[in-house]
Amino acid sequence: MKTIKYLIAVLLYCGTAIAQNVDVFPVEFNSSADDFNSNITQNGRMIYFTSDRKGGKQQVYIVEKDANAWSEPVQIRGSVNDGSQIGAVSLTSDGQFMVFAASEHEVGGFGRLDLYSAEKVKGKWTNIKNLGPNVNTEEWESQPMISNDGNLLFFASDREGGYGGTDIYMATKTSAGWSKAINVGANINTEFDEMTPVIGVDNNNFSFSSNRTNGYGGFDIYISKIKGNTFSPAKNAKEPINSDGDEFYYYSMPNTDIAYFSSSRSGGSGNLDIYKAVPNPYSSEAVFMLNGVVRDIKTNEPLGANIIITDLTTGKKVADLKSDDNTGEYYVILQQARKYSITALRKDYLFFSEKYEIPKSDKGKEQTKDIYLSPISGGNTRLLIFFDFDKSTLQNESIPELNRVIDFLKDNTSVKIRLEGHTDDQGSADYNDKLSGNRAKSVKEYLVSNGVDADRIQTIGYGLKKPLKNEKTDEARAINRRVEMKIVE
């Protein structure tokens, strides 16, 4: 029965893909040389791609969308391109961290071609690091693909011990760096060449290229699904995605019906070109996209800050991203049916956290929210802390934020704080004064029990005296129920 259901699902899936009238056309920034790996960032506003349009040397280029047109491609700024053959970049969703492949990069490597990482600092790609021996070998490692949260890494390698030719491998991010890379297995790899892995923004859709038999010619795009470390059997993406030429790098643009991929089919500008497919027959599942600008609350200047995404259900940090140093812009992709906290942190500033609960039905939603950070001196921030109803008992969802307070106080040992409890307008003033005071004390107790000097923490309960909102709505009351942390010294 399960098999029959599976077969019906596969038939429906294939039928849908075939029934759609997919238009495929080249983008305007192709050259007569190789143009490939159209890595889309910042909600489709930028594309990083690789081209050897200048002297046959592969380099990383960027185009930005202005109104409806793409800008002229320019080589990216910084030291990423300091090597003989550079490219195949993959970026986190914020566009602030990349992994790339390079031959003979100035940083040095282990083998014929290695994987490296780079960070965007003040508009330049810098801090180049080799990903290390858990990922790189003395053989050819290339085409890294990092998941949008930066925690999964896929790449191609022709190292020994695979299924043959080039295979796709994966590694996960740990506190000590990348885990030892493993072959993703026989549902993806064959005795032929598998390469150009791409994981969708939903961390579920997975595509790659292979020159296995029974394709349309050369390298074809294949589609699979990933769950944990398990991949579903790969299926040929069929025409018009595949052709008698080579196809590589199938990228689905989040929450749209657009895909980009590279192909050597006839009709382009020559060699490998980047093509756009509409509607995308293999789109990723819809995601919640949050973006905005991190600013100084006093000067309104944009700030580069770390953006930490925490799964409030598990308490685990699921992504460590960054806002742009120059523009303060941040981009975060969240999966549906989860509860998250988004925290912005920056040295010499108080952190700020916000909760996002993404319902299962909330498909394809985008939201813009600017984050304002307060300088430490005289600063004030609202803590993302949750209590049981009408009690001062801390809920588990509060733990990540409380740990951030602990880290902040340990990093700033001369700072003294005051925890200010606030309630909504329901109940008597006396009752609320007491409740808010107890809640502030609960927070203090947690901090002290985790090594913070009690003398550095004052508490006070303001009850309903200092509402942020005067409306009598549930929304206003939720905003008014809070614990604030104020810097007093």
């Binding site: 592969q58 020559g270 490998l272």
Partner: protein, 285 residues
């Protein structure tokens, strides 16, 4: 020794090319196939400009229509009905890509033409007794002349290597078209005038009214990469020239056989077309 030096230099050149382009890249282990590198070097310039030198051989095909006022069986003048021959040509070319598939090629040529023919027929000759009688006689002719050729042709790439080329051609005569005519009496005991006189006579002259010709050239070629920017290009072409080689000759006389009188002999529609087999070196700038 000279050949050995050439081989060593060629090998060193090929090794240098190989070393320069067999580099790992981010898409392909061990780098691109060399063919792609070379193609790309060609294509990376949006509108590459090529100059070239070529040389080759013409296979010339001459024909004209001969009309006698009254029939002269086995006239030795039948030799002039057609002719063929091999001759060299040299060209310099300039080639511009208009887009990836179509290019414009301008060519300036020194184009030598040579054609000849012979015919063994019956002609009057003298016996040893001084009597006039039919003898077996071979008449030969050979014409040689040169043109300055100017052409502007469109090149269409069928594949990355194979192309066809076609366009108009102008041929301007350079100097005279020399003609050598020879008669040989093959029947033993026959002479031109009287016994003891030669049995072979030869006359040199020049063709009059050689015309500037306009025609059409159609060819096919194949580009072979020697380096990223140098190509060896064998080609085969056909020159079809509707303009006549010279004006028609009206009112000539066939006096080779008095028995049949001296009928007029008119030569019209003199055409000269050529197959060309060329080898060119193209240099992409």
């Amino acid at each position: 020794m000279k050949t050995f030096k050439y081989l060593v230099l060629s090998l060193a050149f090929l090794v240098a090319i190989n070393a320069a382009f067999s580099q790992e890249d981010v898409l392909r282990p061990h780098g691109k196939p060399k063919k792609n590198i070379i193609d790309e070097a060609q294509e990376s310039t949006p509108f590459p400009f090529i100059i070239g030198l070529e040389g080759g051989l013409n296979y010339n095909m001459f024909s004209q229509t001969l009309t006698w006022g009254s029939p002269v069986p086995k006239s030795i003048y039948n030799a002039y009905a057609n002719g063929s021959g091999l001759s060299p040509f040299f060209s310099i070319i300039a080639d511009f890509n208009l887009n990836k598939q179509i290019g414009l090629q301008l060519k300036l040529s020194y184009d030598n033409k040579k054609f000849k023919n012979d015919y063994t027929g019956i002609a009057d000759a003298y016996t040893e007794l001084g009597e006039r009688a039919d003898a077996t006689v071979k008449r030969e002719f050979e014409n040689t002349g040169s043109y300055l050729g100017l052409s502007a042709q469109l090149r269409y790439n069928l594949t990355d290597q194979l192309f066809i080329i076609a366009g108009p051609l102008v041929q301007i005569p350079i100097g005279n078209f020399d003609q050598t005519e020879t008669e040989s009496i093959l029947s033993p005991g026959f002479y031109y005038n009287q016994p003891g006189k030669p049995t072979i006579i030869s006359v040199n002259s020049t063709l009059s009214n050689v015309k500037t010709r306009i025609g059409f050239e159609l060819g096919i070629g194949y580009k072979v990469n020697i380096t990223k920017t140098i190509f060896l290009v064998p080609q085969a072409r056909f020159q079809i020239m509707p303009t006549k080689l010279t004006d028609d000759e009206l009112g000539g006389i066939d006096n080779s056989r008095i028995l049949f009188g001296t009928p007029t002999l008119t030569a019209t529609d003199k055409t000269l077309n050529s197959f060309q087999f060329a080898v060119a070196l193209w240099f992409q700038l």
